[in-house]
Symmetry: C3
Subunit: 112 residues, 3 copies
């Protein structure tokens, strides 16, 4: 099974919860989860920026093999460069497109 | 691929983001998206009402061929008639039912 | 068709809306919905606790045959025992795992 988490709101507590749930998911032996991804866009991009609130959790998720993806439209809109992101974060053309693509491949969707 | 966006909260900034992401999605050449729909219910109905906050974005989405659907239960609850909605918005018996039906047909779900 | 509702935020109005939508869904004759579930975790757990805000709605959902599931990680984190939950609420190892499992079985996902 596969799961994608969607970060979109500027709510640090919610983002922390999201990232904790992603981590818990990898530790739940009752389901066999092969891939976990996080897609962030709009005001959910914060934890993906180097030094941003919650970026330490993003770093630890990346270490466990979770893919973390930032929306390029959001980077443009917020005047962010790829070099502003935590090392290991990928960019995707659009957050909506990536969420559509992953769900069409069978990923479950969770919006914390 | 197909995608449905869910508007449910009374948060104008979030609704604007949702509608912008829907528009970006139609312009993302990396995914082939055939159908995009918006289902609004509860306090997410605002932008679908004629003259409501964000109704100009709903009008422009309709022009690009995106289907915009309002929950009839919500209309009843808020004492709204179909004539109060932006021209071109459809009604569905229940928002939950429509979201279920679309996902069962293969639509990806995005909740901004 | 099958639908799972996700309760995660500490927003009583949103939770009430979620539970009302779940109830409406069972009454929408335009879609044939066989199973409806509610998965609650993090700050969405409130209405599942006996005497908590919205627990009366959870009781009435359980009476209509809707399955209501609480995340065990959340119970641990909030120092709650199963005996603190509304009678009939089940526990699951992790909310994220349960949401993944249900969607992989074909459940539509709705996040109010």
């Amino acid at each position: 099974m596969q799961t994608v988490f969607h970060l979109i709101a500027d709510e640090p507590a919610q983002q922390q919860t999201a990232l904790a749930i992603a981590e818990n998911l990898t530790q739940d032996d009752s389901v066999e989860v092969d891939d976990v991804a996080v897609v962030a866009q709009a005001d959910g991009i914060g934890p993906l920026t180097a030094g941003g609130d919650g970026s330490d959790m993003v770093e630890s998720l990346l270490e466990t093999g979770i893919e973390v993806k930032a929306c390029s439209n959001t980077l443009d809109l917020k005047d962010l460069a790829e070099s502003d992101l935590v090392d290991g974060v990928e960019t995707v053309p659009s957050g909506g497109g990536e969420l559509t693509r992953l769900q069409s491949e069978g990923y479950a969707y969770i919006r914390p």
